[in-house]
């Protein structure tokens, strides 16, 4: 029995892999959406922050014996802290200007990060082993699913849900959302808006680094891993609606599935199907699927 000419074993296997990729895209685009939604900054350095997160895990293990679980916490903290510096020293000056300067600044920062790591580590990538507790896998009948990949889905979607909940359903989130709309009012209420913005940027970057650690055992750690992904992640955020948290999560997972389907039927197009979708969506719904009209 085949589905459109493809055996079900192949189809389900690819879809499951697509779901895994999709959860990656979701957690990555989540950070971007948070930063854009709250700060109106287009953070082109997101891919670099992801890559640095993965490298922190790798260097941590190779040089300091920091294990995977510790890295999951450490990398976001380190990258977040560094990003605080970036925000305070550089990004802050650009808030009054056109969005595009923020994009260009973060693009430059991404180039710097990529270049530095490339210089020290080459582009062939370093291998990062799956942590012991997550080795092995289970036989699902239509394919063998490594335990680590299942963990990725759980961790990524778990974090996504937690962030969404925090922003949409808690007081902190409400404050954040208010600060985006009327920073002056919120400031008048005694809340330190600039600090809030700094922390938000750091949180977004931390999310990227978290995704980087998650990715390390799967994708191999290499300086180009961010720049390969960044425009796809941008596309996800744009399609989902640039300020919408839910939008980027749903679109991220959706894209993973669509890519998987494309890989089954027309593999060469799998890298560009997202762009085709983006063009179509922007024609029909200019603010994205879940976006609010500006």
């Amino acid at each position: 029995m085949t589905i459109f000419g493809v055996p079900p074993q192949l189809l389900f296997g690819q879809l499951l892999l697509g779901l895994i990729n999709g959860s990656f895209y979701a957690v990555l685009s989540l950070g971007l959406a948070v930063i854009f939604g709250m700060l109106n900054i287009i953070n082109f350095a997101h891919g670099a922050q992801y890559m640095v997160g993965a490298f922190v895990a790798w260097i941590g293990l190779a040089a300091f014996g920091v294990n995977y679980w510790e890295s999951l916490v450490l990398a976001p903290l380190l990258v977040g802290a560094f990003s605080v510096l970036i925000e305070r020293l550089m990004l802050r000056r650009l808030y009054q200007l056109d969005h595009l300067y923020g994009l260009l600044l973060t693009f430059g920062l991404a180039l710097i990060a990529e270049g530095v790591f490339r210089n020290y580590y080459g582009i062939s990538g370093e291998s990062y082993e799956v942590p012991e507790q997550l080795q092995g896998g289970m036989n699902l009948g239509f394919m063998f699913l490594p335990l680590y990949r299942a963990w990725v889905v759980v961790a990524a979607l778990g974090v996504c849900f937690a962030v969404w909940f925090a922003i949409e359903r808690t007081r902190l989130g409400a404050t954040l959302r208010a600060a985006t709309q009327r920073p002056d009012l919120v400031q008048a209420l005694g809340i330190n808006v600039p600090l809030l913005m700094t922390l938000t940027y750091a949180a977004g970057a931390g999310l990227a680094a978290f995704a980087g650690v998650l990715a390390a055992p799967v994708m191999q750690v290499n300086p180009l891993m961010g720049s390969n992904l960044i425009i796809v992640v941008f596309a996800v955020v744009v399609i989902g609606g640039m300020g919408s948290i839910l939008g980027s999560i749903v679109t991220g997972v959706g894209l993973g599935l669509v890519e998987a389907l494309t890989k089954v039927y027309y593999p060469q197009a799998s890298a560009v199907v997202i762009f085709l979708i983006m063009v179509i969506v922007l024609m029909v719904r200019p603010a994205g699927l879940f976006g609010r009209q500006a």
């Binding site: 000056r93 056109d98 600044l105 430059g108 270049g115 425009i231 560009v272 922007l282």
Partner: protein
């Protein structure tokens, strides 16, 4: 200013490698065309590499596989970039800001994909060994000096066209749109049509730069269509001076020069330096080299 350019252009090949200068000229034209859109209309396109590459591929294919003479190849490359620009423009022009940039990026990625898949582009290898040919069937372009003067002529022509456009009534309207679009609309201008026209013009000249580059280096490859190429041209424009006429060319000279000088010696540090220049420019140097020089000369003239 024109006279200075022409003289400089004529003298330059005796001071530096013609191949290097030709690369600078192609990118200067590319950046100037891009600046037309970004500096004068205020639209950031992240997909201009598609026009550059398309011009290069069409020209290369005609000259290499169909034996066309170089001027035909270049004209065809330019024309096809123009058509592609119209398509992109029609799809993108109604959006602005980041959405505009993203649509152009997405469309450029689609073009990249086509260029990988379609047989006539040679896929991953690109089109190699594009012949220099004989210009008008008479002038042999394989000599680097001869080729250089041809490229110089093309650059000067393109530059002149941009200059005229900016200082024309059309250019004034574009500036008005950039300054205050709602006002322009309320004054009755069909703003979208003007933006589209500017976009197509920009795409056309970019295609010209690409087609010329294909003949100079006898190569059209996927690197031309990569989005990093789009990023580089933004940098050249920004560094040289957004919204100035000469700025992008200065920016192109600086960036291409830096890359050539440093590539062998420092390898990956070129990326770092490029990134650092971006950062510095955006933070401190937004008017770019030419912009800053202009500002300096104004203060000198008016004040002290």
């Amino acid at each position: 200013m024109f006279a200075a350019l022409i003289v400089g252009g004529l003298v330059a090949p005796f001071l530096a490698y013609p191949t290097f200068l030709m690369k600078v000229l192609c990118f200067a034209l590319f950046a100037s065309a891009f600046n037309l859109l970004l500096g004068f209309v205020g639209l950031l396109s992240f997909g201009h590499a598609a026009f550059f590459a398309f011009g290069a591929y069409v020209c290369g294919y005609l000259c290499k596989n169909l034996g066309a003479p170089p001027e035909v190849g270049i004209l065809a490359g330019t024309a096809s970039a123009s058509m592609l620009g119209t398509v992109f423009g029609l799809l993108a022009i109604r959006r602005s800001g980041i959405y505009f940039a993203m649509i152009t990026l997405a469309l450029a990625q689609l073009v990249y994909f086509l260029e990988v898949q379609l047989p006539f582009t040679g896929g991953e290898d690109g089109l190699q060994g594009i012949p220099r040919g004989r210009l008008f069937g008479l002038i042999d372009l394989s000599d680097n000096m001869v080729m250089y003067f041809f490229v110089l002529a093309i650059y000067l022509a393109g530059f002149w066209l941009i200059h005229r456009t900016i200082h024309s009534p059309f250019g004034q309207i574009l500036k008005a749109i950039r300054e205050n679009e709602p006002r322009a609309i309320s004054l009755g201008y069909a703003v979208d049509r003007y933006k589209l026209l500017a976009f197509v013009l920009s795409a056309t000249l970019t295609g010209l730069a690409g087609a010329t580059k294909a003949i100079v280096f006898q190569l059209a490859s996927l690197t031309d269509a990569d989005w990093h190429m789009s990023g580089e041209v933004v940098l050249m424009t920004l560094l040289g001076g957004l919204g100035t006429v000469l700025g992008p060319s200065v920016g192109a000279l600086t960036i291409v020069g830096l890359q050539d000088l440093l590539a062998d010696k420092v390898g990956s540090w070129v990326t770092v330096i490029t990134g650092a220049i971006f950062v510095v420019c955006v933070l401190l140097f937004r008017r770019g080299i030419v912009g800053e020089l202009r500002a300096l000369s104004f203060t000198r003239r008016s004040g002290a």
